[in-house]
Amino acid sequence: MNKLRRREALEGYLFILPGLLGLLIFMVGPIIATVAFSFAEYDLIQPPRFIGAKNFLRLFSDPLFAQSLKVTFTYVILSVPLSTAVALALALLLFQRVKGLAVFRTIFYIPSVLPSIVSAVLWIWLYNPQFGLINYVLKLLGIQGPRWLYDPHWVLPAFAIMGAWNVGPTMIIFLAGLENIPRVYWEAATVDGANAWHRFRYVTLPLLSPTTFFVVVTSTIGAIQTFVQPYVMGGGGVGGLGAPMNATLFSVIYLYQQGFRFFNMGYASAISWVVTTIIILLTLLNFALSRYWVHYSVE
């Protein structure tokens, strides 16, 4: 018997071996390497040279890095609440036992199926200040539309609006969260005389808060890592990285520029570490704040 168990254990290790190797080669190894390289100067041609904490010192006095953090956080603050609210609103509408649920769900989901480059191309055209559909519709409503992707003040809101078009998976997660709430709670509230708003505010929102929390955490992490939109769409897609006027210089764009355009691999490693640390801190902050608004039902 013991021999059989030993054999099973051995086979177990063999089965998970590819996974562990992958972990080591593509995760743990690279993570250790970025730590090492962040203390070095390395341009891929000359051998790496140890320079102590110089990369980090340079980071803290680099105005472009400061700009990249400002851009990234502005975008997080704009896009996370907007996308979360839109996804929740769509999920709530679909939750009303509507006929044709599958059709509506597909329609709201399908933008999320497109390759990100395709969405980017379509939206550059939609946002075109002169000939784009969005400014045309605004004009019909009597509003003079902004220059969107060409305007440093409007480019991030433009990305956030586009992000609200791309909320398929979040909407599905909310819908699943809603379906997990026992219907008796709403029925009891109705019997007690609660109107629709009360039911939403005092039953749905608290009971849904664990789902909302998950959505806020994952979409914050996602928003910090935004790459394709600024890379492809900034300045209408023809102004170079960070266009217009560094208003789309997201952290990951700056990392890409330092690493793969200027080949400052050491400096780029340092950036990646600071950004990763920020992601971890922000996630911890989210967890700390969750005490005040997330309710886990006692079961």
Binding site: E8, A9, G12, Y13, F15, I16, P18, G19, L20, L21, G22, I25, F26, M27, G29, P30, I31, A33, T34, F37, L44, L93, Q96, I107, F108, Y109, I110, P111, V113, L114, P115, S116, I117, V118, V121, L122, W125, L126, Q130, F131, L133, Y136, I172, I173, A176, G177, N180, T211, F214, I221, Y231, V232, G237, V238, L255, M265, S269, S272, V275, T276
Partner: protein, 281 residues
């Protein structure tokens, strides 16, 4: 009696409002597709017409052929197909295999090691991007397809998680019965567990297909010469050259989206199921 009727009427009124709202929202979500499609059929002059026409004067379907002949799309298509096929193959060979080990076989440290795998899901892609690049450069793999599919042969944390859940739903007595009948563990995996997990395996395959087909940053960093570009990179380069030729850009953007849209319709239920699990874990 009267209040009952009033209540029903009010309910009906709200229901109608709800459907009106849903239809308006659906229209808003579909407008970008519609706009891209009509643009793709206009002639060059009509694109810059103001006010814009919702429907073109004549439907120029030849735009698609013209756009197609302007760029080596066939090469890009071939590259996309090769990379996607190998990546999906690698995922399907590795992830269920590893998941089976975690779900069915018993060995010391199983929980801790599985936790380690889950932990890697939290690590941002960009954290490891630079050392990955250096690793592949050392191997001489830059400007080849290898960086884009070889890692998939070592499993993917989320898929391992998904498939492990599935395997754990199968009673262990099945494994023990097959053992008593003298089947080897590998045989049990391949002939019993893998076929049983077919729905989950197909889900994983579809999700991986959609991810790799649409991937932008991977090809951007690891591929250099245009003859190695994928469709996604090809569209990006095409956009750089013909940035005012919106009829051609919209045409190719729509064509590139056809495979993921088809796969979405085939696997809709499964994709939604997979996302639901990710949200409730």
């Amino acid at each position: 009696m009267r209040s009952q009727r009033l209540l029903r009427l009010r309910r009906k009124f709200w229901r109608t409002q709800l459907y009106v709202l849903l239809i308006v929202l659906s229209a808003i979500y579909l407008v970008p597709f519609f706009w891209a499609f009509t643009t793709s059929l206009k002639d060059r002059g009509a694109i810059f017409e103001y006010p814009p026409r919702l429907f073109p004067r004549e439907f120029r379907f030849q735009n698609y052929l013209e756009a197609f002949s302007m760029y080596p799309w066939l090469t890009f298509f071939r590259n996309s197909v090769i990379i996607t096929t190998l990546s999906v193959l690698g995922t399907l060979l590795s992830s269920p295999f590893i998941a089976f080990g975690f779900a069915v076989l018993r060995f010391p440290g199983r929980r801790a090691l599985f936790f380690l795998v889950l932990l890697t899901m939290m690590i941002p892609y960009y954290t490891t991007l630079i050392p990955r690049y250096m690793l592949f450069k050392q191997l001489g793999w830059i400007d080849t397809f290898y960086p884009l599919f070889v890692p998939d042969f070592f499993g993917n944390a989320f898929f391992i998680f998904l498939l492990r859940q599935y395997f754990m739903g199968i009673p262990r007595s099945l494994f023990e019965a097959a053992k008593i009948d003298g089947a080897s563990t590998l045989r049990i995996y391949w002939n019993i567990y893998f076929p049983l997990a077919r729905p989950a395996v197909i889900t994983v395959g579809i999700l991986q297909f959609m991810t790799v087909w649409s991937d932008f940053i991977g090809p951007l960093i690891f591929l250099q010469s245009p003859e190695h570009y994928t469709l996604v990179l090809g569209l990006n380069a095409f956009r750089g050259v013909y940035f005012t030729y919106w009829h051609y850009l919209c045409a190719m953007a729509l064509v590139i989206s056809i495979p993921p849209i088809i796969f979405f319709f085939i696997g809709q239920k499964r994709i939604i199921g997979g996302i639901t699990i990710s949200g409730l874990k």
